[in-house]
Amino acid sequence: MRHGSGVRAGKVPFTFNGQAYWGQEGDTLAAALLANGVKVVARSFKYHRPRGIMAAGVEEPCALVTVGDGGRREPNTRATDVFLYPGLVATSQNAWPSLSFDIGAINGRLSGLIPAGFYYKTFFGPPSRWMLYERVIRRAAGLGKAPVEPDPDGYCHRAAFADVLIVGAGPAGLAAACVAAESGARVILLEQDALPGGSLLAHAVSIDGVPGAEWARGMVDRIRAAGGRVLFRTTATGYWDDNFITAVERLAEPGQVPSGPVQCLWKLRCERVILATGALERPLVFAGNDLPGVMLASAAQTYAARYGVAPGQRAVVATSHDAGYRAAFALADVGVAIVAVLDTRSDPVGPLVHAARSRFPVHTDARVLSARGRKGVLVGLEAAIGGGRQTFAADLLAMSGGMSPVLHLHRQAGGALVHDPVRDAYLPGEGRQNHVCVGAATGEGDLATILSDALCRVPVEDPLGAAGAAWPGPVWRQEARGKAFVDFQHDVTTADLALAQREGFVSSEHVKRYTTLGMGTDQGKTGAMVALAQMADLRGVALPEAGLTTFRPPYTPVTMAAFAGTMRGDHAGPIRRLPLAAMHEALGAQWVPAGVWMRPRAYPAPGETIGEASVREARMVRNRVGIVDVSSLAKFEIAGPDALALVLAVCATPVSKLAVGRGRYTVMLREDGMVMDDGTVWRVAHDRWLVTSSTGGAARMARHWTYVRDVLLDGARAAVVDVGERWAGIALAGPSACRVLTGLINAAAPAHMGLVDATIAGVPVRVLAASYSGERAFEIHVAAHRVGPVWQALHAAVVEAGGGVYGLDAMDHLRVEKGHVVIGAEADGRTTPADLGMGGMLRKAGGFVGWQGLMRPALSETAGRRHLVGITALDDEPLPEGAMLVMQIGEEPQGHVTTAAPRIAAGEGAWIGLALLTDGVARHGEIMVAWSPVRDKAVRVWVGPPMFHDPEGVRYRD
């Protein structure tokens, strides 16, 4: 039923649990449900108790529903924080088979078996027990289900700067924003509600001679006229270092089809921040304080005054301070019968109390003992009044245990909290950043005072008299019999707090984790202070000594997609394409991501699989000739008087004696002695070097080079230029490679590990005679923007020589046969050069990064370490990469297969691989099993040296 005169026109159809209803434009889902007489909205998290609507804003702990369907389905949405739109579909959660008959409610009756710390206790027990509980509890306890379909909507990010950012468009925030905007500052005002005004929307006050809500709209017009930006449905969720605020703007309601992006994540860097975040009401503690029909007084007032909805027919108002009385007047205005006002104080005075006494039965020294329900909803209550007891029949209990300033953002910003013993509340202390709290967030309850702090003497007319000054009242405490909740969302009761106390969990951080207090999606916005007061009383200490838990962002839950923004799917990261991408495409390349690059994996002929193509391509290189794109390799040029000193510090192998025009293989180590990267180092001129390293490590090496130069060598005179993307690279390999090259450059090919400058197709190139494949091979470097003609000339020449192109897989097969390691596979961050058989290559005198780490006894002893070995499959099937090496299936692993490849040089079907094996060097000749239980594969292997092809290296020579 709906009363009052403030009702807006417009009928909005929606459904709840499949039932069709009508609401009105501007209603929240909660307001519309209450207007339709729907009281039970959800089942609770642990005990499956029926729950209704307790609040009217984002602090709602109970009325969590799922809104929307398909990929737009949003679980755990507060019914109080979604505005009605035509066709809104909402369903209740955590109830099976239905909201009215929920089988899980048996949890409530068995609650003695699910005490606080249940999970901890269970997990300390035998695993067989928690395996069983886990299955049962996971089905029974929980919140809404995440959608499985992809989210069809767009999310965006925006950055903005403000001289003054104001959070909250209540009276204090509006006043502050208006003053700042009209003084010429760049102003941004954020409001999580759809309307400005905050508490004014539920208050019968007038400001400057107009009703509060109208005054608020006028203020927004003034702020905008002065150039300020006002964002509604925008919640400041995080306050980070250096006045950086993140805020989430809802451009459409949950589940609604948006006309553009559905949400926008704002990143706001601000000179000054004003927090006008208001205050939230505390619940009272009594048995059954979670029954549908029990509601915060401010919420009841909001439903009546703002939405014109009567949340019940017969109401009791229970309060511990003046402001609670306002609910009685607002409810009476929409036709609710006020059965009683129960005030915990023995002798309340003041205009509000006075006005109330003349209209309602006011009882002082009166406390609610228990609420009574029938069919899951409130039907009455028992109260202690003076020395006696009295029962009341009521379907609405509006409760107020005082107000708590909303200081989440203030705390996130590092601001201090100060306990005010009069209000029994935490108030904002000194801020760490350039911010200030204003209005109700400071504990100030009087509207005229709030406004005159910001605007000079605004006339405020409050027909009920200045009431706010007396709030927040003290947290009202009592021992409760039966289930009295302090965390409604996580079903934490006063009994749970007492149990935690008895079991030795005293600090607030421990109690929080043991009972899960405040760990729900509402982060305990309503009950936290009440719980802290209970904990203080249990310990017999003052409230400040009970401590506080950390306020963590986000203030309200944020959809994961809002953080991702546009970075989803193909936009998750930049796709980097090689300069020759179009030519590979034309040759039928199949692509594979390698580091940040897309590289050709193979070039399958029609009807050929990638595996078949790779073997064909590798065999082509072994028998004739091929070319492969190696442009993505990291390349650095080092030049200057101290270039040699820098190369010596980074590379662990000898380089000083390298002649100009010569190169050699090298490794770079981390400080702990493990291999970080490998590549080749070339002396291009006396004080000019070219060093290549792996594709995947390019960014890390770029940093490493300048770190060593600037931090370790105190700014040595050596230029480091990352030429990785300036030089494209093509490797030419195979028995015919030398002949193909000389035909193109009209000059002699360099000897193995030699370097010459030449031209191909009229384009200057640098030819490095290095081999990865184990065949005579050359890397041809050319300016990236001129690589096209060079590739075409090379391609034509290799095709004429009976060869062609090969991809990454063929390259990998070839290097496995040759025993070359790959960073990330064999060099996995736990291997030293000695583990990889390269110990003898290092400079004995040290002086390179990592030399000290290698001196550790655990590394200098080779026994017990995992060494690189080669393995040959004895069974006729592929080796499972990543498999463990065991003596017998089921035994402890002694190593693992790092890479597997089909044998190229020998006959069909044979598989080989590289592996890391404990004491592997001493175990050549052993037969082991490569066992992969996850893939249900086991292949017998022969352990041998990591070299399957041309161990003497004769094929490098012409």
Binding site: D241, R432, D672, Q852, G853
Partner: protein, 81 residues
């Protein structure tokens, strides 16, 4: 999200920078093995100010020495290395 005042580029957002390590954990090339491992694995880790090395990796590339409070995140001094 800190603002770091790069001596070359001015105040820039933390995302542009990469934290490297504290100054006391820099391993010099001529440190002996014992000193080197102690620098690497035994840190002072004070509750308060510390000198740290950062690089403006997505900006000018400069290596920086920052004096930063590890509780408040306040940066009291920045210099190019």
């Amino acid at each position: 999200m800190m603002l770091i005042p790069c001596p070359h580029c001015g105040p820039r957002v933390q995302e542009e920078f990469a934290y490297e390590r504290t100054l006391d954990s820099v391993v010099r090339l001529d440190d002996g093995p014992v000193t080197a491992m102690s620098r690497l694995y035994t840190r002072a880790n004070p509750r308060g100010e510390e000198i740290e090395i950062w690089s403006h990796v997505h900006g000018c590339g400069q290596w920086l020495r920052l004096r930063r409070d590890r509780v408040t995140h306040a940066i009291s001094d920045v210099e190019a290395i």
